[in-house]
Amino acid sequence: MIIDIHAHPVLYDVINPDDEILSFRKQQFGVFKSGRVPLDFALRLMDNAGIDRTVIMGADYSADSPRPLVSNEEIRKIVDAAPDRFTGFASADPRKADAAETLEKAFTELSLSGLYLNLSRLHMFPDDPRLEPLMKFCQDMDRPVMFNGGYSWTPDSPAKYSEPVRFEDIACSFPRLRICLAHLGWPWHMETIMMLMKYPNVYTDTSLIYMGTPARYYEQIFCREMDIDWLQNSFADKVMFGSDLPRWRQVRAMEGLKELPVRKDVLDRILGSNAEVFLGWRKKDER
């Protein structure tokens, strides 16, 4: 199964019934010129990219915003429209007193599959004590957490809050909690590599194409700034395919990744089986 582990459904038509809500999401997420995307068309785009399942992120910054960017109920609505193609991650604003309650409802009543947090947008460092109850609950419920790692294109989101090494306390304190530091933690990708190698519960994704074509940028990161054998031999079980849709089209990110000079077993892991482990659908080979 090919899985896109990192997508934002901010433009999908089923959650944007009117122009006012669409405009709110576009401004908050920072996709200013994009239009509404019909869900059936989104599925055709997945088909065109050869993607079986896309993991979509909720986003809740409602402590300083009139409503969640994408609420947990809206994520459930999208998943219900195509349950064989979408997996939904919840969100909860840790700055609000009812964050734990929101997350509990998302997991127990809405059956969402993980938690998404962009600490840069929340202006919270990973060692903020307000995160602890959410991390504990996710660990207890066996739900993974997708964190923005490093740079965030979302407006008002300083990168300092998402520096990969700052997540070390979470990785240590919650050893059974699977966490993803998205975007390879760029521009701190060497810190992310350290986290991948040291902590069995830390993952990353490939949603980091910020310059050049996908093929050229992946080559720059994985073959020039690293040796490609670092990926193949040291953390091939920790990297997941992610597009960061709608920042990049899924098909373009996929094409770029497939240009990397890696073994087929490594590519297969990146495109799907690592995500299955991260999502808790498959046991990790601990040997």
Partner: protein, 143 residues
């Protein structure tokens, strides 16, 4: 002079997609009621084109191969970066350049209420950056 403008919607099915629209243009001319004048077919986009050629799969394939040779998929294009005004990444420079080669419109005579085409001519909406939902105009001017 009378002027009729029709906006047509279309959905491409792949990155490079030549979509025949001859029948749509003929129908618009017939519906317009304009007997003698000109018909312009114009795309609204910058990574598409309107082209005329013979409606044969082999010709369509040769057009695709030619444009791919002139504008390769992988090349150090300048238009490959994050666009602050969009909040998304560019990366569709080949589509822009193929659009430049194809042109954004075609013109046809309208005589006695009918679109005038050569016997081998068909009209295509040319997609160079699909899949996408697209729009084009059929603009008919005359008496």
């Amino acid at each position: 002079m009378n002027v009729k403008l029709y906006e047509k919607h279309i959905e491409s099915r792949k990155e490079f997609d030549l979509i025949l629209i001859t029948d749509e243009v003929r129908s618009a001319v017939a519906e317009s009621g304009i007997k003698n004048g000109m018909c312009a077919v114009i795309t609204q986009h910058t990574t598409t084109g309107i082209i005329v050629n013979e409606g044969l799969p082999c010709v369509e394939k040769d057009i695709e191969i030619l444009l791919e040779r002139l504008v390769p998929h992988d090349y150090p294009y300048v238009h490959t970066h994050m666009l602050p005004s969009y909040g998304t990444c560019s990366g569709n420079s080949p589509g822009h350049l193929k659009s430049l080669i194809a042109g954004n419109h075609c013109l046809f005579p309208v005589i006695d209420g009918r679109l005038v085409l050569g016997h081998a001519q068909d009209i295509y909406f040319a997609e160079f950056d699909g899949l996408l939902r697209r729009r084009y105009y059929i603009h008919i001017m005359g008496e």
